[in-house]
Assembly symmetry: C2
Homo-oligomer: 249 residues x 2
DNA sequence: GCAAGTGTTATTGTATGACAAATAAAAAAC
DNA sequence: GTTTTTTATTTGTCATACAATAACACTTGC
């Protein structure tokens, strides 16, 4: 950091808790978080590259690479003489791992949980039905193994991992590339749920039974049964969330 | 282009049909297409930055920015001393506009149509149901306006645009951010359908009636009716696709 | 006044060269 | 054989210079 041109006045807007790891990654994260937090709304013009460089005391190269990363995620569009403008929300790749993480930390927990559960309710029953129809035997094995791991889990951590693996395996068994990106929502929904309960799930045995119904439907290749079983599982998750205090954190 | 270090031997692997517009955008597209086409499979190591520079006769700067773009889309991961490695497929942001386009041109039309229709069948009925429950009056107005435009359309182009607008409006009316990224699938599905028929849709009047049923269900806030109406619409689209020659192009 | 062209200027785009940091792989030491 | 050290390769970061683009102000001609 031999950047001589430090901001010398009161215009120095932001602190710079200089990080670990790659500079451009960290920059992309910093700027991305600020966009998702609403500091720069869609249509707004960002500070220009040189300004970012001054704000964070980094070279224009690093700034540009960070901006390219964010552009790749659909958050920005840069044009000469104009600058970098925040894209409309419907262009954002909200299912990108990073973007979803920033989004999650920008909104309150409960409404995030509500969105994820709502989205799961739209998609996962159909995924379960597809998996029931199209799964290969290898994919079925993976699902059964995840079920087994869930049943035998001795700790909450192991249980959560098995749960994630179960839903990931189911999604993969649906054999449709275009649905795979949805996995990140399931993952976030379950992690969020885990943050809520944070203890041993009191309904764990119920949850296990519900998962088993899905497995059986997939074994039988019964699309409707799979769909219904998944719906009941999501209902149960909603119940767990509803049972936690709305004021918690 | 004053790059003196041209490849001088028979190792010069690729042509360079130097493009229009931004170099790094074009580079990202070129490399992205090659990845989606399977030239570099997940886990494979890409040529290093300097090599790309030689291959396309561009500076390392441009190469790095292109790679950052692709990394932002989840296709790559770069590490010092290693290089840039193609990420596993489930990390790819397949719902990114660019990535989906590259994917589309990398696989054959029919299987792309099959995937998109299958995905729509999973997602859109639930979206229609959600929209029926949660739409605001403004959102309903937008939906009705799209319906009107569809009814009055004099050309295929206008009809397709209205159709896209209809489904986009419906998706927006579902009021769930996490579902918005799926809009790109619907868009691609409809565009693909248009490429198929490429003429005036012989079932146009049927399609319009099916869309109207959805509108009425959303007006009535009848979730089940909306779901069923959407399912019937997708069935109809499948029928149109099935009616076209499997050998066409 | 106003339309059309013309120049000015702010911003991103591209190139080059240099060095830092990370780390896999090879070499050396034990 | 195992551990440690060195080396080499690749990405990461910086600085600087200039090109390309296009919004905006300005002139010019009518």
């Amino acid at each position: 950091m031999t950047n001589k041109k430090l901001l010398d006045g009161p215009l120095s807007v932001k602190p710079r808790p200089r990080p670990t790891g790659n500079l451009h990654d960290w920059l992309a994260r910093s700027i991305g978080e600020r966009i998702l937090a609403g500091e720069f709304v869609p249509g707004a013009l960002l500070p220009n590259e040189a300004a970012w460089g001054r704000i964070y005391d980094v070279s224009r190269t690093a700034v540009r690479e960070a901006i390219k990363t964010l552009t790749g995620k659909g958050l920005l569009l840069s044009r000469p003489k104009i600058g970098s403008r925040v894209e409309p929300r419907d262009r954002w790749n909200l299912l990108d791992r990073d973007v979803l993480t920033w989004h999650r930390s920008a909104i309150d927990r409960r409404s995030f949980a509500a969105s994820t559960q709502e989205a799961r309710r739209v998609i996962e029953p159909g995924v379960a039905a597809l998996a029931a129809r199209k799964r290969t035997v290898e994919q079925l094995d993976r699902l059964i193994a995840a079920m087994e791991a869930m049943r035998n889990a001795k700790s909450v951590q192991v249980n959560v991992a098995a749960d994630l693996e179960f839903h990931e395996a189911l999604l993969q068994a649906a054999n449709n590339d275009l649905l795979m990106p949805f996995g990140i929502i399931i993952e976030q929904a379950l992690r969020n749920l885990f943050d809520y309960t944070s203890q041993r799930n009191p309904r764990l045995s119920i949850a296990i039974k519900l998962h088993e119904k899905i497995v059986h439907a997939v074994i039988d290749q019964d699309m409707e049964a799979a769909r219904q079983a998944m719906l009941r599982l999501i209902d149960d998750t909603d119940a767990v969330i509803a049972a936690t205090s709305p004021l918690k954190k």
